[in-house]
C-alpha cells in the first residue's frame, strides 16, 4: 500500500482533475446564456403568428446575435402572440425598429430579425416594437400558391 503522503497526493490529484473536468464542461462545452447579465433590457413585440419560434431563440440584427427570446405568450385581448426578448445593453436601437421572424436555412431554427428604423429616439426597457412581420408558415404559403394557381387556370 502507499505511504500516507502519496495516498493524499493521489486523492488530491483525483479531486483536482475532477474539478478541472467540471470547469472544462462549464467553460468550453457550455455557455451561460450570454444575455442573462445585468446589462440587458427587455422589449416586447407582437406577432400574428410566431410559427416555430422558441424561447432562447436568437435575436439578430444584420446577422449578428444581439439578444434572445425569453418569453412567448398569447395576448388574450388581441389574440396575437406576445414575444418578449432581451437585448444587450450596449445595443441602442431606434424606436421605429421593425421585427420579423425568419428561418435560418430551409430547415433551420427560427429567429427574430430586427431592422433598424431612422428615428432619433431609442427603445427603452419595456417598450413595444410596433412594426412586426409574422413567421412564414410553409403550409399557408403553399396553400396560397396552389389557390392562386387554380384561380389563374380558369
Amino acid at each position: 500500500m502507499f505511504s500516507k503522503a502519496k495516498l493524499e497526493m493521489t486523492v488530491g490529484i483525483f479531486v483536482v482533475i475532477g474539478l478541472a473536468a467540471l470547469l472544462f464542461l462549464a467553460m468550453k462545452v457550455s455557455s451561460l446564456s450570454s444575455f442573462s447579465g445585468n446589462d440587458v433590457y427587455e422589449v416586447v413585440a407582437k406577432f400574428e403568428n410566431v410559427g416555430g419560434l422558441k424561447v432562447r431563440a436568437p435575436v439578430m440584427m444584420a446577422g449578428v446575435s444581439i439578444g434572445e427570446v425569453n418569453k412567448i405568450s398569447l395576448d388574450t385581448s388581441t389574440y396575437e402572440a406576445k414575444v418578449s426578448f432581451v437585448l444587450g445593453g450596449k445595443y441602442k436601437l431606434p424606436i421605429d425598429t421593425s421585427a420579423s421572424i425568419f428561418t435560418s436555412g430551409l430547415l433551420g431554427e427560427q429567429y427574430i430579425s430586427l431592422e433598424p428604423g431612422g428615428d432619433d429616439a431609442f427603445l427603452k426597457a419595456g417598450d413595444q416594437i410596433k412594426l412586426s412581420q409574422s413567421a412564414m408558415v410553409l403550409e399557408q404559403v403553399l396553400g396560397q400558391f396552389l389557390f392562386s394557381k387554380a384561380a389563374g387556370d380558369e
Binding site: F2, V11, I13, F14, A21, L22, V29, S30, L32, S33
Partner: protein, 263 residues
C-alpha cells in the same frame, strides 16, 4: 387446496421480507448520514476510501469515456453528413454525454468497479466477525466503516462523471475533427451555443450526485446486510451490481422526464 394456501403464504413471506429489508435499508442510511461528523473528525478515513473508491476507478472511467465519445462521434457523423449537418456533431456528442451517457455509464461502471468491491469488503468483514468485534470494543462500525465509504462514493461519483464527459467530448473531437475532418470552429461553437450551463451541465451533475447516493447506498447496505457466509457475500455482491443497474436506469428515466421532459 393446501398448495394454494402455501402459495398465498409464500407471497406474504416475500412481501414481509422485502418490507423488512426496505426498513433496514432506510434505518441504515439514516444511521450512516447521522455519522457524517466522522469525515471531518477523522479525515484520513475518508481519504483512504476516496482513494480506493475514486482514484482507482479513474482508469476505467477515462478509457470508457474516450471510447464512448469516439464511437458517438463516428456514428453521429454518418447520420448527420447525409443532411449536411456535420457541424452539429459537437453539439450531439456533448449533449448526449453531459445529459445521459456521462452520469449513467459512470454509475454503471462505478457499480461494477467500486460498488462490488465495497460490498465484498464489508460482507467479508461481517463473515470474519470484524464488525461485531468493533461493537464489542465500543467502536461504532457506522462511523468507522460505513460512513467514510458512503461519503467517498457520493463525492467521487460527480467527479468521475465529469471526467467521463470531458474525456468523451475530447474523444468526440479527436474522431470528428482530426479524423473525419469536421470544421473545428463549427464543432466547438455549435456545442457552446446549444449546451447550457444550468439546463445541461448542472442537471447532469445533479443526476450523478443522485446516482452516487443510490449506488453507494446499495453497495454498502448489501455488504452490511449480507448473510455472513461465503455464499452470502457472493450473492450480495451480485445483488449490488444488478440492483444498482436497475436503480440507475429507472431513476435516470424519472430524472430525465423531470429535467428535460417538459418544454
Amino acid at each position: 387446496m393446501n398448495g394454494l394456501l402455501d402459495m398465498i403464504r409464500g407471497i406474504g413471506v416475500k412481501v414481509l421480507n422485502s418490507v423488512r429489508r426496505m426498513g433496514r435499508g432506510h434505518l441504515f442510511i439514516f444511521h450512516t448520514i447521522m455519522s457524517f461528523g466522522i469525515i471531518f473528525k477523522e479525515f484520513s478515513l475518508l481519504m483512504k476510501q476516496l482513494f480506493s473508491v475514486g482514484v482507482l476507478s479513474v482508469q476505467i472511467i477515462a478509457v470508457s469515456g474516450l471510447t464512448v465519445g469516439m464511437v458517438l462521434s463516428l456514428q453521429g457523423y454518418n447520420t448527420l453528413v447525409d443532411f449536411g449537418a456535420e457541424q452539429s456533431l459537437g453539439q450531439m456528442v456533448a449533449l448526449s454525454l453531459v445529459r445521459e451517457m456521462g452520469p449513467v455509464l459512470t454509475a454503471l461502471l462505478f457499480a461494477g468497479r467500486a460498488g462490488s468491491a465495497l460490498t465484498a469488503e464489508i460482507g467479508l468483514m461481517k463473515v470474519t466477525e470484524q464488525l461485531p468485534a468493533m461493537e464489542i470494543m465500543a467502536v461504532d462500525p457506522y462511523r468507522k466503516v460505513i460512513a467514510p465509504r458512503f461519503f467517498a462514493g457520493v463525492i467521487s461519483m460527480p467527479l468521475l462523471a465529469a471526467i467521463f464527459s470531458a474525456i468523451g467530448v475530447f474523444g468526440g473531437y479527436l474522431v470528428g475533427v482530426e479524423l473525419l475532418g469536421v470544421d473545428s470552429g463549427g464543432f466547438w461553437s455549435q456545442m457552446q451555443s446549444k449546451v447550457g450551463l444550468y439546463e445541461d451541465i448542472v442537471n447532469g451533475v445533479i443526476k450523478s450526485i443522485v446516482f452516487g447516493i443510490v449506488v453507494t447506498w446499495i453497495a454498502v447496505f448489501e455488504g452490511f446486510d449480507a448473510v455472513p457466509t461465503t455464499e452470502g457475500v457472493s450473492r450480495a455482491t451480485t445483488r449490488t451490481v444488478v440492483n444498482s443497474a436497475f436503480a440507475v436506469l429507472g431513476l435516470d428515466f424519472i430524472l430525465t422526464a423531470l429535467m428535460f421532459g417538459g418544454a
